[in-house]
């Protein structure tokens, strides 16, 4: 549930905080719940906290899976 969005980390700040960018909108959020985050990484943000890092390779794989959906089987 819960509105959570993938956003790009643009800057690390003291006290486990960071600035994220979503479509040009920037916000200061907490990175307390994630480890090993670097500028350029994408994180899932919910109520001002990053919950998890987003895995770009997996994201690509998922998109490829969607695209495949229309291509399997000769009959469709």
């Amino acid at each position: 549930m819960c509105l959570a969005l993938p956003a790009r980390v643009v800057e690390l700040l003291p006290a486990s905080e960071g600035t994220i960018d979503l479509g040009g909108v920037r916000k200061r959020i907490s990175l307390e719940l994630v480890t090993d985050v670097q500028p350029g990484d994408y994180v899932i943000v919910h109520v001002g906290y990053a919950l998890q890092k987003l895995d770009p390779a997996e994201a690509q794989r998922t998109l490829a899976l969607f695209a495949e959906s229309g291509l399997t089987d000769s009959t469709a």
Binding site: Y42, V47, G48, Q52, L54, E58, F66, S69
Partner: protein
């Protein structure tokens, strides 16, 4: 917006829809519950139902923490502001939920109660620091996604030595709710609610991981596919469920691999375990008492527990007799089955919680889908 727009592509949606149509066996029905309110909202907002074949039915589950919050707990939150003169900080979602005596947090605010909307738990902590002479209470709601931030601010409050800050904890747990539904007579014995599989919540799963769902798949022999938040994620998850059911499998699959692992977020889980413990039982609006389904603050952080500080007495309040929210939350009825849907009960004047939260089944249907009811009737 990267990782958002690509997952909303209409062309890809049509392709997946074609696949679902091709693979769903026409002689059976597929009854799938999307547990999470965010998925309910996505399904309505993007008109996903339009793209599914008629024998794939989406049942809306109780994964909307606002919808399942009992009236009595909102009454308590209002009392904290009106009787104890506390500054009550809340996420905006709860503001309009109707409580007892014709009140809601919003109406109480209009009458002078100091109730403030916050976007983040951290804001509540800041308000406590900025108002050292006032009691500040954070009205904490939400499933496992929203619980770690509450854990963080309680620990921060302790580190800062704050004496005017407490949390009114109403955090609830997903697996307990799923079990409750699967154990309910309508599902288990009477078979009134055919429930073939689940779309697992997106963001709860980033925290708890995919592992907790393995129990359901095993014990109740129902497949679970954890889906991301975007409409293509939901559609792909539906396809994966259809395939599992066709194959006779009952496994936990993860469609949201870009953010969910089997273990989830260990750090977040550790922080939550440090601050909270299970309540033996908790009342869920529409579901009644559900064992081991909610959290309370541990003794080590008692100083930050609003229930202890203010001696809050919980009084259970029954829903309006005409309200079918309970049945709707359990997937037993649809919004249109409720006698007062769309007439007495509307988003403007909600009778029950399913109409208040924008991801409640009734609000979602009213806002996005009800024009279809009219077309159908006229046809």
């Amino acid at each position: 917006m990267k990782y958002i727009e690509e997952f909303r592509d209409g062309e890809l949606a049509r392709r997946i829809a074609t696949r679902i149509r091709a693979e769903a066996h026409p002689e059976r029905s597929y009854n799938l519950m999307e547990f999470c309110g965010g998925h309910t909202h996505a399904i309505s907002r993007y008109g996903i139902k339009d793209l599914l074949p008629g024998n794939v039915n989406m049942i809306h589950g109780p994964g909307c923490p606002v919808c399942v919050l009992p009236i009595g707990r909102i009454d308590n939150a209002i009392e904290l502001a009106t009787h104890h003169s506390a500054i009550v900080c809340t996420y905006a979602d709860t503001m309009r939920v109707p409580a007892s005596n014709g009140l809601s947090l919003m109406k109480a605010k209009a009458r002078g109660a100091d109730i403030r909307m916050v976007y983040s738990a951290a804001d509540a902590l800041r308000i406590a620091q900025d108002n050292p002479t006032r009691e500040v209470v954070f009205f904490a709601i939400g499933f496992e996604t929203t619980t770690p931030p509450t854990a963080i601010i309680i620990r921060q409050a302790q580190a800062l030595g704050l004496t005017n800050f407490t949390v009114f904890c109403n955090h609830v747990l997903t697996p307990a709710a799923i079990t409750h539904i699967l154990e309910s007579p309508e599902v288990r014995e009477l078979g009134i609610v055919p429930l073939d599989g689940f779309i697992g919540p997106a963001h709860v799963s980033t925290v708890i991981g995919s592992q907790p769902y393995e129990y359901f798949a095993e014990e109740y022999q129902r497949p679970v596919v954890i889906a991301g938040f975007e409409p293509l994620d939901v559609m792909q998850a539906i396809l994966m469920l259809v395939r599992q059911l066709n194959d006779g499998r009952a496994e936990v699959e993860n469609e949201f691999t870009r953010a969910v692992t089997r273990e989830g977020n260990e750090k977040a889980k550790r922080l939550v375990a440090d601050v909270f413990e299970l309540r033996r039982s908790f009342e869920w609006r529409g579901l009644g008492e559900v064992p081991y389904s909610a959290l309370r603050i541990k003794g080590t952080y008692a100083a930050f527990d609003a229930e202890r500080r203010f001696g809050i007495a919980y009084r259970s309040v029954a829903d309006n007799k005409a309200c079918e929210c309970g049945a709707i939350l359990r997937g037993v009825k649809k919004p249109t089955d409720c006698k007062v849907f769309g007439t007495v009960c509307t988003p403007e004047n909600p009778i029950g919680s399913c109409m208040v939260s924008s991801e409640g089944a009734c609000a979602a249907h009213y806002t996005y889908g009800r024009f279809k009811d009219i077309e159908v009737r006229a046809a």
